[in-house]
């Protein structure tokens, strides 16, 4: 669509959220009735490992976990995930997961449902 030799101009909405992104956010976010953030982080780590991810970073003070997985059998592609654990109130915390395939965000809700199902299981095991 680019006309002639003019460089493309950023649209006015470049930094405004689109509807698709808002929808994605609700898919990526869950709240849990867990008090202990460290426990939740360990649960996130365990869930990611169960899904075959390699943990790259686990930063407790920031509540941030980054992980990645080689998209085997495709040896050149990487699936990356960033999970943040945020304490909302003393009793509840919010967990948000962002997944990308190489540089492209994954917007399939099934992927996130699968992650949260695994997470629930691993949080449940730790609490017994």
């Amino acid at each position: 669509m680019l006309q002639g030799c003019v460089a493309p101009k950023p649209s006015q909405d470049l930094l405004a959220p689109t509807e698709a992104q808002m929808k994605l956010r609700s898919v990526q976010t869950r709240t849990f009735d867990v008090k202990d953030r460290q426990l939740a982080m360990r649960g996130v780590i365990a869930a990611l490992q169960d899904l075959g991810f390699i943990i790259e970073r686990a930063n407790e003070p920031l509540g941030l976990v980054t992980a990645a997985r080689f998209a085997e059998p495709n040896y050149y592609d990487v699936v990356g995930v960033t999970v943040t654990v945020r304490q909302d109130t003393a009793e509840r915390l919010t967990i948000r997961a962002n997944a990308i395939y190489n540089n492209k965000p994954i917007d399939d809700p099934k992927v996130y449902q699968n992650f949260f199902a695994t997470l629930e299981r691993s949080l449940f095991i730790t609490r017994e």
Partner: protein, 194 residues
């Protein structure tokens, strides 16, 4: 390598030899300086005997229980030896550092890529091959790791392990020299294990 008949190896050697004789071959001397093997996954292991030999050469026992002071001395020693301390965990008693030795200097002039080097990005998940240094300088990376662990109620054991030109350093002499410097920093004599 085991289980292969000598015949196969002779043929292999002949073919490798032939590849070396090819004119304009991509097999540069740089490549030949790297270890060759049948299965590169085997690099994950060190042989059991070299593990035992290395453990003795790399470890010293110190008559102190002051972990903090020992770690501080280790950091000071590493800095004296020109290593940049890239990792330190006091709780686990681990210090790791690295330095770059210009082992792969071009014969004429300088390699401009060498100055673009960003050594903080040694993370593994990057799709750019510049991530681990400019390609021909990756073997310049020297790494050193020290662990400080409690041995018993009155002693600590310090272990050093180094990596040089994509190999584990197995020669005991560099370790002796390292511990000599560390002993001076600690003002303590280290003993060999057992």
């Amino acid at each position: 390598m085991a289980g292969r008949t000598p015949g196969v190896r002779v043929i292999a050697a002949a073919l490798v030899g032939a590849s070396l004789l090819l004119p304009g071959c991509a097999a540069t001397p740089y490549e030949w300086r790297h270890d060759n093997q049948w299965d590169s996954r085997k690099q994950i292991w060190l042989s059991e005997e070299s593990q035992v030999r290395l453990r003795a050469a790399q470890s010293r026992v110190f008559d102190t229980t002051d972990r903090r002071r020992t770690i501080e001395a280790v950091v000071a020693t590493m800095q004296d030896l020109g290593f940049m301390v890239a990792f330190l965990d006091e709780e686990l008693g681990i210090v790791a550092g690295k330095k770059f030795e210009p082992l792969e200097r071009p014969s004429i002039g300088t390699d401009p890529f060498y100055h673009l080097y960003n050594d903080t990005s040694l993370l593994i998940f990057t799709r750019s091959y510049r991530s681990w240094g400019p390609f021909w300088h990756r073997s310049d990376l020297v790494r050193l790791m020290i662990t400080v662990r409690r041995r018993n109620e009155s002693q600590l054991v310090v272990r050093a392990s180094a990596q040089y030109y994509l190999r584990a350093v197995e020669d005991p002499v560099p370790y002796q020299k390292f511990f000599h410097t560390l002993e001076q920093a600690l003002v303590l004599q280290g003993q060999l294990v057992q």
